[in-house]
């Protein structure tokens, strides 16, 4: 299946290679570099590139291209999904997935890749199993290792691979037993010129951080499970129980994991927490344009809208912008024409606004294009879909764990057309 893997950085250098079958010369990446050159933006490189003898499948994460070399038919999503899993694992191990982090931990990276694939077929991709096999580097351990000459590789054998619940390590012990769940929802929306919603959907996840001793069996129930009609689960969730009772029943993995993600589609009514009033206009023959933008809270259920960030790609003809924010700071990059305004918190009494003028190239005709405005924000203590957890129970162990649930709503791809 997956023959080889090359890691290519933003400047187009191969800085790591790994082969699971016979060695493929790195010259195969020339086809990739060709495609890279042809693409105007880094994310426009086609994910699948056919070459005379191989197929290259690549993903771009953290400004690193992970280029997998394939020799014969294999579902492309299989490879893409696996590559993303590799990146997630690196991130899990090193905190960040950068070229520097990978180079610093090249041995661990190599050991990980060796365990994750056998002859190109995924072997162990579950982070709990991998951590049993190869301990993640920590500062303390690095120091100890240098002094004592001991290793990162786990001494005991990975029994998790043989268990019925491969995602959970055995013999987990904590002095403080705790289980925290974060319900995070992102709103994807397109708002048209007049302020009406063209499409809006909610993408939600429940991320968990579970540190419980032994083999706990958890159940999580919701006040309004009917909202969750389009869900995907971590493999630990018992699907039949969900089908029958709408209760999440699972033996959790140890540590951080994504319990489920759900999708409230555009057919449902989605509350839009902010509105934007805008007036961006260019006059024919004049070298000046007007720019006015005001933000305000809409359906926020009484919660504050925080960490608001507005960004917009202005037309190419704009030379500079001279604006005046009522709060926060703004920047305009004359090269990329990217305007961004860090608003902060929206005060409903005094709405934030950004007003001023833009200077255009003299003599050039007025731009055809209208810029779109992208908005980011956060609302604490609120799940915009209305999802609420009812209760969390634990079976199978005797102690009493600390439990906690946090809600948060964020803007996903929230776009206002002008």
């Amino acid at each position: 299946m997956i023959h080889s893997l090359f890691l290519v950085n933003a400047s187009g250098d191969i800085f790591l290679e790994k082969h699971w079958k016979s060695v493929v010369s790195r010259s195969v990446c020339d086809y990739f570099f060709e495609a890279l050159e042809r693409a105007t933006e880094p994310e426009n490189v086609p994910p699948v590139i056919p070459t005379p003898h191989h197929y290259l499948i690549n993903v771009l994460r953290h400004r690193i291209y992970f280029v997998a070399v394939i020799q014969s038919e294999v579902p492309p999503l299989f490879v893409i999904e696996f590559l993303h899993r590799v990146v997630d694992t690196f991130q899990d191990y090193f905190g960040v997935c950068t070229e520097a982090a990978i180079k610093d931990n090249v041995v661990v990276v190599y050991e990980l890749l060796e365990e994750m694939l056998d002859n190109g077929f995924p072997l162990a991709t579950e982070s709990n199993i991998l951590k049993e096999l190869i301990k993640p580097p920590t500062i303390l351990r690095t120091v100890v290792n240098t002094i004592t000459g001991s290793t990162n590789v786990g001494e005991q054998l990975p029994t998790g691979q043989l268990s019925v619940v491969p995602w959970r390590r055995t013999g987990v012990k904590y002095t403080n037993n705790e289980a925290y769940f974060d319900v995070i929802e992102e709103i994807d929306a397109i708002i048209d010129k007049s302020g009406s919603t063209i499409t809006a959907e909610i993408q939600g996840v429940i991320d968990a951080c579970v540190k419980l001793t032994g083999m706990p069996d958890l159940t999580l129930s919701f006040m309004n499970p009917r909202l969750l009609d389009d869900v995907s689960f971590h493999p630990c969730v018992r699907f039949k129980r969900w089908e029958a009772e709408r209760i999440l029943s699972f033996i959790p993995p140890d540590g951080n994991f994504r319990l489920l993600s759900y999708h409230v589609s555009s057919q449902n009514l989605v509350a839009i927490p902010v509105y934007v009033k805008h007036n961006i206009s260019f006059r024919e023959g004049s070298s000046q344009g007007r720019f006015e933008l005001t933000l305000g809270p809409k359906q926020t259920m009484g919660k504050a809208v925080e960490s608001v960030l507005v960004s917009s790609q202005l037309p190419r003809g704009v030379l500079n912008a001279n604006l005046n924010p009522s709060q926060g700071t703004y920047t305009f990059d004359p090269v990329t024409k990217l305007l961004s305004w860090d608003v902060g918190k929206i005060n409903p009494q005094k709405l934030p606004s950004l007003k001023g003028s833009m200077s255009l190239q003299a003599g050039a005709s007025k731009p055809d294009e209208n810029p779109t405005i992208n908005i980011q924000f956060k609302i604490q203590q609120l799940a915009i879909s209305g999802l609420k957890v009812n209760r969390l129970d634990m079976y199978g162990e005797k102690y009493k764990p600390f439990k906690g649930i946090k809600y948060m709503t964020k803007a996903g791809k929230f776009q206002v057309r002008t």
């Binding site: 933006e41 394939i70 020799q71 060796e114």
Partner: protein
């Protein structure tokens, strides 16, 4: 410092530097104790073995030793590295190792064996036949761990051997949900292909109504379509996987539904696919490609999700273009106005490639939906005054195509476009305008010659495609309006004659001959007008994704729209369904495979009898489903898979009665007087014995026994409670020979309860054990049984190394039964792993009183070492000890309770004689063991 040095080598390999000079120095460390160094050496070895074959061979023995390690994980990793070394000389060693690992007791080792198969196949394709045998064996494996890997091996080695799947089809369907996610993808893709060869097209009725509306008679003649239950099984068991977090799994299920499900059911995949669109952009890219193909065939499916395909300015261009494609495919009379409004905003985008694609999309909507053609055309004409040349050019090309559909009404537009020729520089657009004017020169008689005049002036500076169109225009004008354009045409043709491009010179020559009448010109020139001004059919604007669904969706080939290497064609539905009975699997009803060495005098005969009975049973009961089987698989039971209970109920009942009668006749013929053994023997005979041909069972049993490293073993079921005595509750037990994990000095007894009544049996538990002093019982947790369900539990008994029976009561919510379990002496021990030297040393300590010697004559069947090993390990739970001499077989074990060593040696002599030696501290055990082994060997 070894580990630092290892790091250095790893970095060298990672950077792609050649580190092969270091080979001897590295390989030396293969047996190093430090695990990290060891792993790095493995990495190094696998990487460079191909280049340094001779040196690589030095390391092989280390792995061969690892293959015999008592720890399954070490066995597995040894096999993994050994099979990764690409050196042809070791192919036989690999083959042997794979075969052995395929019947290992550890599913993890078997999984590794499955992984090794494609490696060996790519190294030496000539091993294919042997490897297929191994695959066949592993396919029958019932553990979820193995399933995905072996199907992967199947797909790489012998994807066309669909016949190997039949017997395992239902098992794979049932296991699917518990297989790890990567395996799921492979299995689902394979089953899609399988289903296409074995089942009928579920949409057949629909397509027939379409075709034969005029002939209702043919329709009536056809049998109404009934879906094969196995087809339904596949659809039902894959559906929950749409909820997987793994995009590849969701896509695999989606393509399965698209290719296999009845039209009415395909819709459910849309929601899941739309959900995937929120994922990483690469995932989005692949999903959109597939959605684009699906949306042509099944437009209705995605219509409710139209808005999810709306484009954001931040999407990468390739995603935008694909979304546009989907939107265009979804357009119909009802939603076209919304879609067009959306398209209008796209045209104002800053991304010009995307704008061009949007214009093409508008053109396609206009051709497909007649109502909006004029609206679209007007919109496009407005774009002609756009400042961006690319936009104008693209509009011209699209307008040209639209105009071809109804040119008469649009001479205004043609005139407008003629004016544009002065400004537009994009060759394709210029060529399009020229073609339009030439084609419809009768609609614009005044303008056309003027355009030709301008073009003649700039001819030399034009691009090739424009030049060709100028020649065309000239030719057409010459034919319709020769008065005004004769000289211009001559001029253009003369210019073209000396052009640098072959095509243009050829075209000029050809046209001159055709249109300018000379005395030499042939018959063709008479038809020149017909040739040039024939009515041309309007172009059909088609989606590039049309008909891509002949590739299996989700595949690489589909994405590239070209056959990738190793792509397996998705077969067409068969005309008539192949025999569905090939998927039937023989179902054991209450017993595991009975391959015990028989103890009675008539043993061989009975075995023969049972063989025939088993096979006839198989023919009698073709309807049996593997469900019952699954139900009895302890592993699955553990997962509480109770769903199938009700479905298999009726089937198992019907077979029950059949066997009952046979059983009774069997009992009557039984006449044994040996009192000591009577109980066991009778019980044993009461069990309806079927030689089980289901490969898996063999495998499971083998796996239980393979601790003893015997190639095959047997397991004996004993009866605890007969069905009649137990009022419908049948209980059997066997010694599973697995270590009893809660208490290592207990013997694990696997007990299988079968509820043959029609009511639920509740609160099954153990009460009031009456035991000899020192003996202990670890009870199983209380269980309940649904009607005709059967459940297996494991309990532990500490027999204190004696063959005394453990007596206790088995209680249900209504009744109590007195039962007892008496272990054969061979079950009181567990295998011990000794080397040859250790064995000799230990044997030396256990001389004199502790040694029992017995001479015997080997039975007729004990012809070779293999049979001896099999019989000894069947009698007692011992493991084989390696031995230099081929005349001797050695076995070692420990008693479970006190851990005393039990050493057994069988020395064969010429002419069927042999000597049996047992060394054991516990003389009683030794004596009894000698007796049992003697009996086993002298048959």
């Amino acid at each position: 410092n070894l580990s630092r040095w290892g790091i250095f080598v790893a970095i060298m390999i990672a950077r792609g530097k050649n580190a092969s000079d270091l080979f001897p120095a590295v390989v030396k460390n293969v047996a190093c104790k430090n695990i990290e160094v060891k792993k790095l050496v493995y990495v190094y070895l696998v990487r460079y073995a191909e280049e340094q074959q001779d040196l690589a061979l030095l390391s092989i023995s280390t792995f061969q030793r690892g293959l015999k390690d008592p720890n399954q994980l070490i066995r597995a990793s040894a096999l993994r590295v050994l099979s990764s070394i690409r050196v042809t000389i070791i192919v036989p060693i690999m083959m042997l190792a794979i075969k052995e690992a395929a019947s290992d007791m550890s599913p993890y080792v078997r999984k590794t064996a499955a992984h090794a198969i494609p490696k060996l196949h790519s190294l030496d394709p000539e091993q294919k036949d042997q490897l297929i045998e191994v695959i066949e064996k592993l396919l029958a494996d019932k553990t979820t761990l193995v399933a995905g890997s072996v199907v992967m091996a199947f797909e790489e080695v012998c994807p066309d051997r669909i016949d190997l799947i039949h017997k395992n089809y239902r098992k794979l369907c049932n296991l699917l949900i518990d297989v790890e996610e990567w395996g799921q993808v492979v299995i689902i893709n394979m089953l899609t292909r399988y289903a296409r060869t074995q089942f009928l097209n579920p949409n057949i009725n629909v397509s027939i109504t379409h075709m034969c509306e005029s002939e209702p008679a043919t329709l009536a003649k056809r049998k109404p379509y009934v879906m094969d239950p196995d087809h339904r099984l596949l659809l039902r068991n894959t559906k929950p996987l749409l909820q997987s977090r793994n995009a590849a799994v969701v896509m695999a299920v989606a393509q399965l539904y698209f290719h296999l499900a009845p039209k009415a059911e395909v819709g459910i995949i849309a929601k899941a696919l739309v959900r995937l669109m929120r994922s990483h952009s690469e995932v989005q890219y692949v999903v959109l490609q597939n959605v684009a193909t699906m949306s042509i065939k099944r437009r209705g499916m995605f219509e409710p999700y139209l808005k999810s395909f709306y484009i954001r300015s931040t999407d990468p261009t390739q995603i935008k273009v694909l979304k546009l494609e989907v939107l265009t495919n979804l357009a119909n009379e009802t939603n076209i106005s919304t879609i067009l409004r959306e398209f209008q905003t796209y045209i104002k985008s800053m991304d010009k490639d995307f704008v061009a694609a949007s214009i093409q999309a508008i053109g396609r909507c206009a051709t497909n939906i007649g109502e909006v053609r004029d609206t679209c055309l007007n919109g496009l004409v407005q774009l002609l005054s756009n400042r961006d040349e690319l936009v104008v050019a693209e509009s011209v090309v699209v307008i040209k195509k639209l105009l071809q559909m109804q040119p008469e009404q649009h001479s205004d537009i043609i005139k407008h476009m003629a004016k544009l020729i002065d400004n537009i520089q994009v060759p394709m657009a210029r060529a399009s305008i020229l073609w339009l004017i030439g084609e419809y020169c009768e609609h614009v008689p005044k303008i056309a010659p003027d355009v030709l005049r301008k073009m003649a002036k700039s001819f030399t500076n034009e691009e090739d495609i424009v030049k060709l169109q100028i020649i065309n225009l000239a030719a057409k004008l010459y034919l319709t309006n020769s008065k005004q354009s004769k000289l211009l045409t001559q001029y253009v043709l003369n210019l073209a004659k000396y052009d640098q491009n072959y095509d243009i010179r050829d075209r000029a020559r050809f046209i001159r001959q055709l249109i300018v009448p000379t005395d030499k010109s042939g018959a063709l020139s008479k038809y020149a007008k017909k040739l040039f001004l024939a009515l041309k059919p309007a172009p059909v604007l088609e989606s590039p994704f049309k008909d891509r669904d002949h590739f299996q969706l989700g595949s690489l080939s589909h994405l590239l729209n070209a056959k990738a290497a190793g792509y397996q064609e998705l077969p067409n539905w068969p005309e008539s369904a192949p025999d569905p009975s090939v998927r039937n699997v023989e179902v054991k009803d209450s017993v595991c495979a009975e391959r015990t060495v028989l103890t009675g005098p008539e043993g061989a005969g009975v075995l023969l009898l049972q063989t025939t009975r088993g096979s006839s049973n198989m023919q009698d009961l073709p309807k049996k489903r593997p469900k019952t089987l699954t139900k009895k698989n302890p592993l699955l039971l553990y997962l509480k898979n109770q769903k199938s209970a009700s479905e298999s109920e009726s089937e198992s009942e019907s077979s029950e009665s059949e066997e009952e009668s046979e059983e009774e006749s069997e009992e009557e013929s039984e006449s044994d007087t040996n009192v000591r053994k009577k109980r066991v023997r009778l019980d044993w005979n009461r069990i309806p014995c079927i030689i089980n041909f289901d490969q898996f069972d063999m495998n499971k049993i083998t796996s239980v026994f393979s601790q003893t490293l015997a190639p095959s073993g047997s397991i004996k079921m004993y009866e605890l409670l007969h069905r009649i005595k137990g009022e419908g509750l049948a209980v059997e037990y066997c010694f599973s020979r697995q270590p009893f994990s809660p208490e290592p000095n207990m013997v694990a007894v696997q007990i299988q309860f079968t509820n043959n009544t029609n009511s639920e049996t509740k609160n099954l538990h153990i009460e009031d054990p009456r035991l000899q002093s020192g003996m202990r019982i670890r009870e199983f947790a209380e269980i309940g049984l649904q009607p005709s369900e059967s459940v297996t539990v494991v309990m532990g008994i500490d027999f204190c190394d004696s063959t005394q029976a453990a007596n206790f009561q088995l209680c249900t919510h209504t009744r109590k039964f007195f039962v007892s379990i008496q272990p054969p002496v061979g079950e009181l021990m567990t295998p011990a792993f000794l080397t040859e030297n250790d064995f000799k040393k230990e044997q030396g300590k256990l001389m004199g009183m502790n040694e029992i010697l017995e001479k015997l004559t080997l039975g007729e069947k004990c012809v070779n070492e293999h049979v001896i090993v099999e019989r000894v390990t069947a009698t007692a739970n011992l493991s084989r000890v390696p031995c230099g001499s081929d005349k001797e077989c050695r076995f070692a074990g420990k008693t479970v309770s006190s851990g005393c060593l039990v050493l057994v040696t069988v020395t064969t002599k010429e002419g069927g004689g042999a000597q049996l030696t047992v060394n054991c501290e516990k003389m009683l055990i030794g004596t009894m063991l000698v007796k049992d082994i003697l009996q086993a060997l002298s048959q």
